[in-house]
Structure formats: structure tokens, C-alpha cells
Symmetry: D2
Subunit: 150 residues, 4 copies
């Protein structure tokens, strides 16, 4: 099984220190920030599996969010450190799904869970099949998400 210096699983943990500018007048983190934290963890995850922004950009591939869900359980506060755990849960060749769990670093209390769904598009906005346009990245996804060797 390949991977080399790459991560061997499609999961990562990303830490985030809650900033003052992320609070709202309820005295907690505004709910829209969790959507941004999902993206922070996603960025880190793709870097780790060798499919980071710069590599994908060179291939002319963008993977926009086409669907989102979030469930808010408890509220993160200013100066809390949260961990955003992101895991690719599905890959079909043309789409992939990520699930997220945001929890407090200290207490491990879950703050928020969520999912995002993505497709692949070219710079011109045309939907791509990764399998066809980039067999190497496709193989990497297959290996990590679907457990298939390259």
C-alpha cells in the first residue's frame, strides 16, 4: 500500500483559538464561524493527504462546496481552543463528502457536528470527473477513502 510520506487515512485534527472577532453579542462564537472552521480543517486535511491547494490548482481543479449541514450542540467562547476533526467519508469519482466534529480541546465537549459535499470543477466552472481528468488524484482518493490500492 502506497502513500509514502503522506497521511495514511483521510482524517485530521485541526486546532483553532477562538478570536474576539468571532464572538457575537450573545457572548459566544457566531454560528457562521463553524462553517469557516470546517474549511480550515478541510485545507489541512488536503495538505496532509498530498492533494493540497497548490497541487490541485496546478492541475486546474477546484472543489467547491455544494452542500452543507451543521448541528450546534454547545457554544465555543472567546479564547477557547477548539479541535476541528475532518474526515472524508465518501468519494465517487465526481463527488466527495466530509464530516466534521468540533470539540473543546480541554473538555472534549462537542460544540458542533457537520458535513460538506463537494464536486470538482475546472477554472471555467465546468464540472469534472476526477477519474477522467486526473487519474493520480483519483487513485489517491480511492486509496484513502475506499481502501483500494493504486
Amino acid at each position: 500500500m502506497g502513500g509514502g510520506f503522506f497521511a495514511m487515512a483521510a482524517i485530521t485534527d485541526c486546532e483553532h483559538l477562538v478570536q474576539y472577532y468571532e464572538t457575537d453579542q450573545m457572548g459566544v462564537t457566531h454560528h457562521s464561524n463553524y462553517i469557516r472552521w470546517f474549511e480550515e480543517a478541510r485545507t489541512k486535511l488536503f495538505e496532509e493527504i498530498g492533494l493540497g491547494y497548490k497541487g490541485m490548482e496546478e492541475m486546474g481543479i477546484i472543489s467547491p462546496v455544494v452542500g452543507l449541514t451543521a448541528k450546534y450542540k454547545t457554544m465555543a467562547k472567546y479564547c477557547d481552543t477548539v479541535v476541528i476533526r475532518a474526515e472524508i467519508t465518501r468519494y465517487t469519482g465526481v463527488r466527495f463528502d466530509i464530516k466534521y466534529t468540533v470539540f473543546d480541546k480541554e473538555t472534549e465537549q462537542v460544540r458542533c457536528t457537520g458535513t460538506s459535499e463537494h464536486c470538482f470543477i475546472s477554472r471555467e466552472g465546468k464540472v469534472l470527473s476526477l477519474q477522467r481528468t486526473n487519474p493520480k488524484a483519483h487513485a489517491r482518493f480511492e486509496e484513502l477513502v475506499n481502501g483500494k490500492e493504486g
Copy 2:
């Protein structure tokens, strides 16, 4: 049927001019902004039905987002005017749901659809039954969402 100068239905349209600071390097609106636009329309809707922030605050009632979904269809660009249509679709006395459609003002092309789910809490974070703690606001919800006269 009551309501007086209030809106007679739990639905509203809210316009938003897409700002430069809302774009990302894909050249379109960053997806997290739609979540904020949902909130803009929600604020307007609650003002119109007579349950606006100041009134609710005086009653000590906050209604945080406990769930979110969004489906992204097409992409809004800088200087586009979008319309965010928000409608309360469910009210149970302790929870309510809103659905959203964001479309281009000029072409009416749908950009994004979504939902949010809310509960009621006190300033101290305790979950409230609106029916018990504020019969008047409860009656207003019942009238508008469930078609029941006060």
C-alpha cells in the same frame, strides 16, 4: 384574525448587494456568506411579524441556530443583488424552522437554498418553552405559522 399593522404571513424577501469583502479567490461569493444572509433575512422577517430583536430581548428570549443546511446551486458575484426569501415553515412551541431561497434579483436564478432550526433560550442559556414563558409571542407564531387564531 389579529395582526394589525403586522405582516400577515411568516415570509419575507430581503435584498442584499454582494460586497467585495464577500468574494473569495474563486471570484465568487464565499459560501459562508450565505449563512450570514440567511440571518439578515431572518432578522427582517422577525421585525415584520412583530417579534423583532428588541421586543424579544425585553422578554429575555434568544433563539439561537441549532441546525443548518444549505445547497449551493450557482454562484453570486460582486455587485450582484440577491434576494433572500425566508419563511417560517414549522413552529412547535419550543422550536421553529425557517427555509431560505437565495436568488438573483435580475435573472431570478436560484443561488442557494437552505434551512435553519432554532430553539428558545433565556439569557442564562436555559431552554424555554415559548408557550409557557411568553403566551403572546406563542400566539403570534401559532397564528402566522399554524393558522390558528389568537
Copy 3:
């Protein structure tokens, strides 16, 4: 003196309804939002004087912020409507300055004053002399800011 349907002065007023997501845990608008509101007014001003984004983009001209100042006097709150007054105060052919006053629409109490300084660059990031690369836009600036006829 030209201008036609265009504004006859390099000044405009832009209204903004303060959103919940713009508040912080101090219970007021986070100070970084004023910087974004400056941009909202700037966008509107340039549209009105006929040098809006789309026109400038077609010419391949971008005018990034190279300097900023802000003085915070009083605090805008959720659901307040503020007016952002923006005025071009200087134009040199390669740079221009804008000054801003943000005040409450109802009470006219000043919330914030500020300035921004801009240069012109090409898409490739090269600094441009507007006078050389776009005499028409240059003439428009000269007319509005420096009172010189085309």
C-alpha cells in the same frame, strides 16, 4: 462641463443596517466591520461617478487599499442603520484618497471617521499611472476631484 447622468461630485451616502453577525461580545459592532463598510460606500461612490467595478475591470484596472486610518467615536449596535459618507479628497493621477464619516441615520451621532489611500494596479500587480493608461478615467477624476473640465 460633462458628466451627463453621472454624479456631479465625488461624494455619496450609503446606508447599512447593522447585522447580528457584525456584533461582538461587547454588545456592539466589531471595529473591523467599519473597514468593510468603508468599502461598501466606496463601491457605491465609484458606481455613481461612472467608474464602477465592471467598467474598471474591463480596463484591467484595480485600485487596492494601500493605507487606512479610522477613529472610533461611539458604537453602532445591532439593528441600527448607519450612513457611510464617502468622499474622494485627493487625486494625483497615480493615487487617490477617500475620507469617510459613519453616523447613525436617526440621531446623526458620528460613530467613526476614517480615510483610505489607493493606487492603481494592473491584474498582474504592476502599478499604473491612470493618466497614461486611461486618459478618460483620469479626466473623470480630474473633473470631479480637482474641478478641471475635460
Copy 4:
């Protein structure tokens, strides 16, 4: 000279990984984010000198931004790591100033410099003299900024 486990100087370096949601359609970080990064570094600095948010809050002291300046030199991009250096440059008992330098972690190229000016207020918004209301925090500022022993 005191300080104990506290930092011995009113200066700190804070790292920030530029996020996708911080980019704009120019393909670089939107200029308003630097203002937020200043705050990130300020938060870290005050934690380090023993005057962090929680401590100050317990004393009922808030220190809002009353003035800001920024000079933009070069542009940070997605996935860049920037360092925000923050230093308290002036303390008068009722006001303090911080200066900031944002530079690329790898190349050390300066992206942005800036300043912020702060006063002290109570929760009710009343301006405070730190010297009078909190001699201990005053002594800490005096020691670090003005080189005076407690």
C-alpha cells in the same frame, strides 16, 4: 524587577495561516483581515504579559480600539503563514498604543504595518483611569512599557 513567569517585554509574535475565506477576488487576503490579525496578536500579547481577557474581565475592564492605522506593502496569499508582531509602544494610565508588523514567515517580507490606540472602559461604557481603578494592572503596564519597577 518583577514579572515572575510573565513575559519581560510588551512584545510578541503570533502566527496565522491565511485561510481561503480570507481571500478576495483579487486572489489575495482582503485588507480587512489584517485588522483582525492585529487583534489576534493583541490577544496573545495580553495573555503573555498576564493581562489577558479573563483577568481583565474579572476586573470589569474592557479596552476598545479608538484608533487604527494600517499601511499595506505586499499581499499575503492563501496558505501563506504570516507572523504578526505586536508591541505596546505607549502607556499613559488612561490610554495605550500598539504597533504591528505583519510579515511572511518564510521570506520575512513585510505585508503590512499598523497601529491601534486603546482606552479603558467599564462594562457600562464609562472611561476608566487604570491607575485609579486597578493599580496592579497599571503597575504591570508601567513596568513593561515605561520600564518602571513596581
